[in-house]
Symmetry: C2
Subunit: 314 residues, 2 copies
């Protein structure tokens, strides 16, 4: 049997036919075109499901279930998607609409959650019972896998790890609070800190790597400058790692997973980031002589969304 | 069948015979006398097990299992208690020693964890699948019940909720970090904030309630002064509630439990605390139009330790 996973983002819809082991057999996609509203997007998702099966030469009867990963949540009371960041969705009955033409079980998961599930099926946390996945991107997303299954909480509002408060009263967050972890551990935070550092270090390599245009600075520029030993960038990076570890320590002291997986844009810093986190974390964990979560980098990259969504139905 | 629960604290050892429904049939106890070391304490625990059964007129054969709640953790690798706050224990093989004279299954749990389990069996969160219990005492302890079972994490180091960082770089914590939640949400924090408030408000009722002796100020003095409308105390209390909610929001955004139960000394502020938390929390949760955890006060009081420890064996 096969599974279909759909990775719905603000830019594109990607669908994939996935086997039992989490391997992608065939992919298809189209642009999301957010402005056209929810219904045609959902229709395109249904169309892509048949397309990937056909392209792979697999009968649609051999597809057991369909999973959708999206930048939002499912309301367990209604089954609807109450809102979806970047898509301007409000109370969209995704499953009902899809099932008008597809008679199969359909599951919905948050995009960070399905990426975490993908890693725990076919990636770096494969076979691990309890893991937490973190996306370090524009914001900070979280996915929790407990006992091998996705955990979304009692009301479907859990695993919003970016909105743990680590600096109460600190930077303003889009959620209305001040000092959420994602204000300090996201790519956006790294860019902000990089720009702030230029005030005292206008000659920093950060600005040079951005072609002299402060508004063009990316997280990669800051990290690359730090890797090359630029002292202002190294200070920023140390500060970023400290803030990142503050949240990781909260995760460890809270649900003590076996593995914490770092994904998203900042994780492309690779070993440079991983080494810094692994060096800082031992000073900060509560039980200093007991084992605690391994921190690893995500390995599935852009395919994680498709694989994890597909595995929701397994 | 019956269960025996032991509540081991720095001052006293309390044991109780408990029925299937979490009701205490009979209690016995003795002082802990920490200075005598671990072995005689464990021997006393074994003695109290037989004593409570005997006093209740229940054959020891009718006792299915024994549970121990203590201010420490169990190392899942060894089964030993690697360290125990306030008892100066180091690598104590509690279960092995107890089983020299008692041929029954014996379980160990953290004291906050077993109190949480007790509430979820026979208290305010009875019947709830996912709940988080918080003790607001000298420190802040946490107990997690997921799917009706105690959750201690993959390495036994989870549910140390007091050591989530909410004010990175803030007050120094005993764990070596700065800004742990318990530095702001414990009774100790309320006392510290109360004393600080006296600098600007030396005539505050806080000091009067403490008999004019600043060193005698308790959390109850601060709360009672706030209840009576003392403006300095009300400011302290508002600040305390804000910090308390910062951690509660982290818990909600993380594992989204059905119920959060507040126990420990500060929870004796009762409805005054509960109303303040329930008023502040809605502004701070991430998904403002979705349901989230009910916040409730613990109901089992001092018996929670015995009941929850007993229920570890169920």
């Amino acid at each position: 049997m096969y599974y279909i996973g759909i990775d719905l983002g603000g830019t594109g819809i990607k669908a994939g036919l996935v086997d039992e082991g989490g391997k992608i057999i065939c992919k298809a996609g189209c642009p999301t075109l957010v402005e056209r509203g929810a219904r045609p997007i959902v229709d395109d998702m249904a169309r892509l499901c048949r397309e990937v099966a056909q392209q792979a030469g697999v009968s649609f009867d051999e597809v057991r279930a369909i999973g959708i990963g999206l930048p939002g949540i499912q309301d367990p009371r209604t089954g609807h998607v109450p809102f979806c960041t970047n898509l301007y969705w409000h109370e969209v009955p995704v499953i009902e609409w899809m099932q008008e033409t597809i008679d199969k079980p359909i599951f919905i998961g948050n995009d960070a959650t399905v990426a975490g599930l993908a890693e725990s099926v076919a990636g770096v946390s494969a076979g691990v019972k309890n893991s937490v996945f973190i996306t370090l991107g524009t914001g900070v997303g979280g996915g929790i896998v407990l006992d091998g299954k996705v955990y979304s909480g009692s009301h479907g509002v859990g695993s919003e790890l970016g909105h743990m408060i680590t600096v109460l009263g600190g930077e303003e967050c889009t959620c209305g609070n001040r000092g959420c972890w994602e204000r300090y551990a996201s790519a956006t935070a790294l860019i902000r800190m990089g720009k702030e550092a230029l005030k005292d270090a206008p000659d920093s390599l950060i600005l040079k790597l951005a072609g002299g245009d402060e508004s063009a600075i990316t997280a990669k520029h800051v990290i690359d400058a730090a890797k090359q030993g630029d002292s202002a960038a190294m200070k920023v990076f140390d500060c970023y790692v400290y803030h990142l570890c503050a949240g990781l320590v909260g995760i460890i002291n809270f649900i003590d997973p076996e593995v914490i997986v770092l994904g998203g844009g900042v994780s492309h810093a690779g070993k440079f980031l991983l080494d810094a986190v692994r060096k800082k974390l031992p000073e900060m964990v509560f039980y200093k002589t007991m084992p605690y979560a391994r921190v690893e980098l995500a390995t599935l990259g852009n395919d994680a969304g498709i694989i994890g969504a597909a595995m929701l139905g397994k």
